[in-house]
């Protein structure tokens, strides 16, 4: 399964999603997502699921079931856009609260056995060299924390030029 998380709207969203097959779960912004409260209920009250009940409460188990994670995000200060970041903040039940050493630092133990590959498309006008550098470093940090390799990172001036065919 491929999980596509994107922050596009309208025609742009439709064009993007059209390139994906039936084996894809699309996570998009319908304006209803709630923000992470930092309560750790996804580790100690309902382990594996976010206790905030909206359409995004199963992100951890969804990531646990996928083989590829595709992220299409506006690049904001070298990071993800607020919606994409919100989805990722609500996904920490993908990992286990215990600590393990990876690459010389403490990271969370992995809850699921099968890692997925990360593909990222960052878009935005006039992205600076620093922002692109930060975004690459962010993906490396995410990759170590989630125990998943980064397969591809792309930067686009104009999201209209984005075509993904899976």
């Amino acid at each position: 399964m491929i999980v596509l998380i994107h922050d596009l709207q309208g025609d742009q969203a439709e064009r993007l999603v059209a390139g994906y097959g039936k084996d894809t779960v699309v996570v998009s912004d319908d304006g209803s997502i709630k923000h992470c409260l930092g309560c750790f209920g996804c580790w100690t009250k309902e382990p594996g699921a976010c206790i905030i009940k909206d359409k995004y409460s199963s992100m951890g188990s969804l990531l646990g079931a996928c083989r590829e994670l595709h992220i299409v995000s506006e690049c904001v200060y070298g990071g993800f856009s607020p919606f994409i970041k919100n989805v990722l903040d609500r996904s920490i039940s993908y990992v286990h609260p215990d600590f393990r050493m990876r690459e010389g630092k403490t990271h969370h133990r992995l809850r699921y056995d099968r890692p997925f590959q990360i593909y990222a498309w960052f878009y935005g006008e006039a992205l600076t060299g620093n922002e692109q550098k930060t975004a690459r470093e962010l993906l490396v940090a995410n990759s170590i924390n989630m125990g998943c390799p980064v397969a591809e990172v792309h930067f686009l001036e104009d999201v209209a030029g984005l075509e993904v065919t899976v």
Partner: protein, 221 residues
């Protein structure tokens, strides 16, 4: 002249957060006869342009928040974008920014990327970057408010607060400070993992539930 400083807490836990405690600690370096401190708690993603304008009336911003997934908590990111918009729409003096970021990991270096994100935000918003403080094992700080700053286990944090306090008082731009905990990594790991097990039992679950793998079976939008 009294300098106006905004203490901006970007933790969704507000008053009960480590970020609130950290802002209180750095405030100890800022004598009240010279500095007027205003506190802003940005707990939700509902941005308010009036509050953004009030924050930007201060010449120094001290921003504290917890590291979420290697970055800025999403609700706080919305506030950073609102502050950028407000800054771009207004003329006049721009503030100097000092950031104090704490993470749940032991190593303070894991906050390095978020400090870069904040630098990029400053560049876009025409703010001057002052200094960043990256704090490891930040979760313990909220529970140590009875410990005097500078005493174990707030010895290194106390030293770092002293260094940043000097930078703020001089409105200087200075290298980032990475504050490792006073206690060994293994002690932190053991205490944290004991804490998760105590919580899960208090919530009426079994220890094995901590390792639960949830099959995915829900339609998303």
């Amino acid at each position: 002249m009294v300098e106006k400083i905004a203490l901006v807490n970007g933790s969704p836990k507000g008053e009960k957060s480590a970020s609130r405690a950290i802002l209180s600690l750095i405030s100890q370096s800022l004598p009240e006869e010279q500095y007027a401190l205003s506190y802003f708690s940005l707990k939700t993603p509902q941005v308010d342009s009036d509050i953004a304008e009030q924050i930007l009336e201060h010449s120094i911003l001290l921003i504290a928040f917890p590291l979420y997934v290697d970055g800025v908590p999403s609700h706080m990111l919305r506030w950073l974008m609102e502050l950028e918009r407000t800054s771009r729409a207004a003329e006049g003096e721009k503030p100097v920014v000092y950031a104090l970021i704490n993470c749940g990991f032991y190593e303070a270096e894991q906050n390095k990327v978020v400090l870069e994100i904040l630098r990029n935000w400053c560049a876009k918003s025409n703010f001057r970057w002052g200094q960043g403080m990256a704090i490891g094992a930040g979760g313990v700080i909220g529970g140590l408010q009875h410990v005097p700053l500078g005493k174990w286990p707030l010895r290194r944090l106390g030293q770092a607060m002293g260094v940043m306090g000097e930078s703020i008082r001089g409105t200087e731009t200075a290298p980032d400070i990475f504050v490792s905990p006073d206690f060994p990594r293994i002690a932190y790991k053991l205490v944290a993992e004991f804490g998760w097990r105590r919580s899960i039992r208090r919530n009426g679950l079994k220890l094995r539930d901590l390792h639960r793998r949830v099959p995915w079976a829900q339609n998303l939008p």
